[in-house]
Symmetry: C2
Subunit: 202 residues, 2 copies
DNA sequence: ACCTTAAGTAATCGACTGATAACATGTCAA
DNA sequence: TTGACATGTTATCAGTCGATTACTTAAGGT
């Protein structure tokens, strides 16, 4: 019957794979709204195995969360390290903005971040959220902007996160005020977010 | 034994009471993280009763959510209707900002709103979120500001919501970058948010 | 006083969840 | 080849959740 020998993976690789699956799963339901079984299904392993790897669901979420925020700060750091950053330059500012909007296309990290940010009732998650928000702020500070500029940049990011969360780009109606907001918040990026990826148009 | 006659309430009053309790409960745990029993306990009634009043947990949440957003837009409308609003006036802009920071002190509405905004995986909640975000945007538009200004105002609000959600004001450490962000985001309001209400200082 | 209506609860159900324990099997060094 | 260890699963449990049913009793008109 079962001729297939089941290939195994190193614990390290499997852990990384489950972490990725966890990112996708938690991006949808958040901490409370996602079961360890959902993560397991996404990863293609059994539910008890994912809890054995991470100990508890909470620890799994915390790892997923911190990794997601890490990816986001990494995207900014890439821009900052690419070449000297001029705090006065509108062009450099646009580059930072672009780094974020590129993240929007694959918005799992952002949604995980958002879920972490809004789970203040779980002390460990709230603590992680504060730590991560601090590190994001500190990273943006490296631009040389004054604190108010950094604050506004972060605030703008939060708006985009919220708009993504509520699936605004996929639900635009002509007369809707939300459409106006979406247009002036996402700009050119809106078109990209509306349509899913097209496969090799003939 | 039980001498107490149980006083009853009109369905209307009880409904309002449970709605209020729901606001407090959902503000903490959000949709997925709050049980109907938690709402019932908060309201001082039995769990089956709260589901009978609202039909399902989802409908209860939607009512709580829409009412919360209603309170928020109402706060803005109060400012707008108070006297003619000058879109060029820095003073009038400050009044709008103040309307929001006053909401921060009793932040249950904001947290419920935030939870609704980040629950995009539940279609009904996401739809309500889009509707409500649209109505908030439309309300702020009544200032006469151009769309970019309105957008930035809303974005700023989202940042404050997130900071409140992660309990930033209660966890300020001297060297922390988050503290810097908190200071330049909340301004004078920060002191108020840090300390719970003091009872008649001797 | 009576009796219909409406407010409210206790009991309970089936589904789900996170976690534990026991078991099975692939991998690899000696 | 073998045996120890690491990878992974099945079975299962106790707790929780949303919802339904059936019951209880206060309120209020006649």
């Amino acid at each position: 019957m079962k001729a297939e020998k089941v290939r195994r993976m190193s614990a390290e690789d499997r852990r990384a794979l489950v972490l990725e699956a966890g990112t996708r799963a938690f991006a949808h339901g958040g901490y409370h709204g996602t079961s360890t079984d959902a993560v397991a299904k996404e990863a293609g392993v059994s539910q008890p195995y994912v809890v054995r790897i991470f100990g508890t669901k909470l620890e799994l979420f915390l790892e997923v969360f911190e990794e997601s925020v890490g990816r986001i700060t990494a995207a900014f750091e890439e821009v900052l390290d690419e070449r000297p950053f001029d705090p006065e330059s509108e062009d450099d500012k646009a580059r930072m903005g672009l780094a974020y909007t590129e993240l929007l296309r694959d918005h799992e990290f952002l949604q995980v971040m958002m879920h972490g940010f809004s789970n203040g009732d779980v002390p460990e998650i709230a603590a992680a959220a504060r730590r991560c928000m601090g590190s994001v702020f500190a990273t943006i500070q490296r631009t040389g902007w004054d604190d108010e500029q950094v604050r506004d940049f972060v605030a703008y990011g939060m708006l985009l996160n919220v708009m993504i969360s509520m699936r605004a780009p996929e639900h635009l109606a002509p007369g809707d005020p939300l459409t106006t907001l979406a247009i002036c918040a996402f700009g050119d990026e809106l078109a990209v977010l509306q349509a899913p990826v097209l496969e090799s148009p003939a």
